[in-house]
Amino acid sequence: MSEIFTIKTPEFEGPLDLLLSLVEKRKLFINDISLAKVTDDFISHVQNFEKLPMGEAAKFILVASTLLLIKSRSLLPSLTLFEEEEQDMHDLETRLKIYKRIKDASLNIKDLFGSEMIFSQSQSRPIRPVFSPHESMNLSSLIQAIKDIIEALPKKEMIPKAVIRKVISLEEMIDNLTKRITQGLKMKFSDFSKIHKEERVNVIVGFLAMLELVKQGVILVSQNKMFGDIDMETMNVGVPRYD
């Protein structure tokens, strides 16, 4: 009866649990560098989760998008981020550190639990009852009480039929981007991300894909001013596009 209400994601209790296990697998300390390193591992794990309840999936995707921010920053240190994004990045690191501390501590709790118990007086010890109902205990208050209990019973969580859309993979994004670029178009990053305006995570995945392409030397990127749009063009095709 004890685990009835728990909805388990495959193997992991949640995104932080997964993330921590990835960092620990590589024997890394928790910081922005290690988080950038495990970003791809994390995303590929999330992509392999077939069915997740809506609420749980959203939590994984949120963490994935923050990881992508961290990775983007590590690839492009001059990258300017919104204050909220900076906060998310710090926050994730802090949460993971706290989570790790608690998880380490929980190993001790596990060892202690039930090993050398302190016992209270037995529940089956004899009782000499004296009938003494309190005036507040009458038929109508008792009926009200049971109705309130029924009202407050937890409802079973409906597992949504719609399986959460997979996060668009980095590869898909790179393909997509390459295709558009080689068509000779010079386009703005904001135009590009409008095509995939579903979730913030897609924008970031797109951004990352772009950074990968830059690294591979396929495209050139220029940003004229801070917070300005990023122009992308292929190195071999030089057909300018005028707005």
Partner: protein, 177 residues
Amino acid sequence: MKLESQIEAILFWKAEPVSIKKLASIFNKSENEIKEAIRSLDESLKGRGITLIQWEDEITLGTTKEISSLIESLTKEELNKDLGKAGLETLSIILYQGPISRVNIDYIRGVNSQFILRNLLVRGLIERVDNPEDQRSFLYKPSLELFSYLGIKKITDLPDYTLINEDIEKFRKQTHE
């Protein structure tokens, strides 16, 4: 740990009279060794709030005489105290669902009912019977006095008896799927 302290622990935990023979078998000692240890326990408990009560071959722990009048007045006070929402909730579940085990009461309430059950027992509002399905636990049911106090003759006279039990049954089923 001294034998007298071990005996003290067992008596405290049992909270009912235990025979010297039984103690001898628990500790794998002779009855004389147990008696010896009881004598020194009795000595150690002088001036304390807990005392040894011995009657023929049986012993138990109890509170000292000096404090008995205080405890008596506290008992009276306790019996007249309102048990509040926890008391009403637990009693109503036992009324509609009894005989019912503590595990099932806890499950419906969503919190542990250990202490409130004892309080209801002390007030004679409910009774504890053996659980035919599980030797280790009890079932709880309303006392006859409670029935007559509430003015009901049989359990099905309770308002919405069927409806309420159906609702609870539905909850059980849904969570056990």
